[in-house]
């Protein structure tokens, strides 16, 4: 089902004209309301009048997550603070989070986009959906919730952390759809299989996101639960889940281009890439009021497919993600930067010892191991003190990153010391 056929299936020419108008209006507003962007545009020698069509996007400056951090928390607001009705946050590269502000209209557009995404998965007002994303600063829970309500479905706001209750309600309330991370859904599948409850479940489909996953994982989810699984994409900086979603043809994720203008750039030269080429995805928010972003560098590496999809939608499709142009990891759906681990070590040990992060997926759950070389200044002859050091580091990582790591103390030189920049991370999950 197509939620908003007028928009999702509009001709590319009509779409480009609409994007051009929206971009023009957005740039005008941003220029006058956000000092940061005004200065950036002045430095680049661009004025709002220079933006006439959507192609003029290349004249505009980029935005990075450092810009969000440096303008924390309200520096990029394009409306008076009173217009903001909600904030969400995602973890930053160091202690400070990135805070994003939404007006009432921003929330409405978000709900519209999530409703479009859920419609791609075949969810309608007849469905009963469990939202198994965390509710709170993370956009997953509330984003999926508002979208599903907008669709008219019945929403069960499960949040995370209680698989038994989720399964009980899934069966008792005859749940037909679920929104959660793909690895968590596999965990649920395992629990259902163990208790021989798969047959009791009425689930038809799942909308999974917040972490990278593979076709193999989709196959597993679909076979083991006898459902259809769809990939939803989003990022807090732009909105949250619902920036793009894949339809039943699974030929890439349709990005809702009437609200989000995508570009693919070379992460080194920042030059625009030709259609279909691999590069970094940049997104300009065309309709966002609260904290609009120009050419936000997502750091996600992918390509865009512009041809019309068999489903009838004309919206460009984001192809399989090929990794990141920075060192961010997504572990259990949470963004983790190695620098956050460094920051945590610094708070406990006073300096940063050599460390190594290993991420793997064991039985469909992400493992997050941090090995630290024991140096003389925090070594003790007493086991109790070493155990305390270990648990203090675990607590500090949990506080900074938001998820738990397993910390291991190792001998000096046990970890790789490569020449020049030390290698600190190994991701064994092979997701791209």
């Amino acid at each position: 089902m197509i939620w908003n056929e007028t928009k999702e299936c509009m001709s590319r020419d009509e779409l480009a004209a609409m994007q051009g108008k929206r971009l023009q209006k957005q740039v005008e507003r941003i220029y006058h309301n956000v000092e940061f962007y005004r200065k950036k545009m002045q430095q680049a020698g661009v004025e709002p009048a220079d933006i006439e069509t959507v192609e003029d996007i290349v004249k505009l400056p980029f935005t990075t997550y450092e810009d969000l951090r440096n303008n924390y928390p309200y520096g990029l607001l394009a409306v008076p603070r009173q217009e903001i009705v909600r904030v969400h946050a995602s973890s930053g590269t160091t202690g400070k989070p990135k805070v994003l502000c939404y007006t009432r209209r921003d929330i409405d557009i978000w709900s519209e986009c999530v409703a479009r995404a859920m419609s791609m998965a075949g969810i309608t007002r007849d469905d009963i959906i469990q939202v198994g994303y965390g509710y709170g600063l993370f956009t997953g829970g509330l984003g999926a919730h508002y979208g599903a309500e907008n669709l008219g479905a019945m929403v069960i706001p499960m949040s995370t952390g209680n698989t038994k209750k989720l399964i009980d309600m899934m069966i008792d309330c005859e749940v037909t759809a679920i929104a959660c991370t793909p690895s968590y859904l596999l965990h649920v599948a395992e629990a259902l299989e163990e208790q021989e409850l798969v047959d009791k479940v009425k689930l038809k489909c799942a909308v999974c996101g917040a972490e990278p996953w593979t076709d193999a994982m989709r196959d597993q989810i679909e076979k083991r639960l006898n459902i259809k699984a769809y990939d939803i994409y989003g990022l807090t900086e732009i909105m949250g889940p619902g920036v793009a979603c894949d339809c039943g043809y699974h030929k890439g994720l349709h990005i809702f281009e009437d609200h989000f203008l995508p570009e693919i750039i070379d992460p080194d030269t920042l030059e625009e890439k030709a259609h279909g080429e691999l590069g970094e995805l940049c997104i300009t928010t065309l309709t966002k009021e609260g904290m609009p972003l120009l050419r936000y560098r997502t750091r996600d590496l992918t390509s865009l497919e512009y041809g019309q999809c068999e489903c009838g939608r004309t919206m460009a499709r984001i192809q399989r993600f090929k990794g990141r142009s920075d060192d961010m990891l997504v572990i259990r759906g949470v963004n983790v930067f190695p620098s956050q681990v460094e920051h945590a070590l610094l708070t406990v040990a006073g300096t940063t010892p050599n460390y190594f992060i290993t991420v793997d997926r064991v039985n469909n759950n992400d493992t997050f191991d941090v090995a630290i070389e024991v140096e003389e200044r925090f070594f003790s002859d007493e086991i109790r003190k070493l155990e305390k050091l270990r648990s203090d580091v675990e607590d500090a990582i949990h506080q900074t990153v938001g998820i738990k790591a397993k910390v291991k103390l190792v001998e000096p030189n046990a970890l790789p010391h490569s020449e020049g920049k030390t290698k600190h991370v190994e991701d064994k999950r092979k997701l791209s």
Binding site: E376, F379, S380, D381, E382, L386, K408, L409, E411, N413
Partner: protein
């Protein structure tokens, strides 16, 4: 009496102890006492040696983390209940024993090596 003890950080896997002992042997260090404390992932080897600072240096050059600190050494008399008396004196002074181990000796009486949370107070209690 206070003596110097060398403590070495070791990972809990086959071969680590081998290697550590070989380094000490090659540095011509004679050991008088040894205790291993272990967890599932790492251990600490504590040793009483004839040349503690040289032992630490040898371990350091080989890339091991080690420290030298002072621990209490009590000569044990061959009497029933002697050790119990020593421990009683320490605990009565309100001092906590972190760990202890025996260091045998060929020529003289065996020693009990004791690490407490307050070495000064413990020594006072043992006088």
């Amino acid at each position: 009496m206070l003596v110097k003890q060398v403590s070495i950080f070791l990972e809990n896997r086959p071969g680590t102890l081998d290697e550590a002992l070989k380094i000490l042997k090659d540095a011509n260090i004679n050991m008088e006492g040894l205790a291993l404390a272990d967890t599932s992932e790492f251990g600490v080897m504590r040793i009483i040696v004839d040349k503690p600072d040289e032992a630490k240096q040898a371990m350091k050059s080989a890339g091991y983390t080690s420290i030298v600190n002072e621990v209490i050494a009590v000569e044990l008399q061959p009497e029933v209940g002697y050790l119990a008396g020593v421990v009683k004196k320490i605990s009565s002074a309100g001092v906590n024993i972190e760990y202890m181990y025996a260091a045998p000796s060929k020529d003289s009486a065996a020693k009990m090596i004791i690490k407490t949370d307050d070495a000064e107070k413990a020594q006072e209690a043992l006088k």
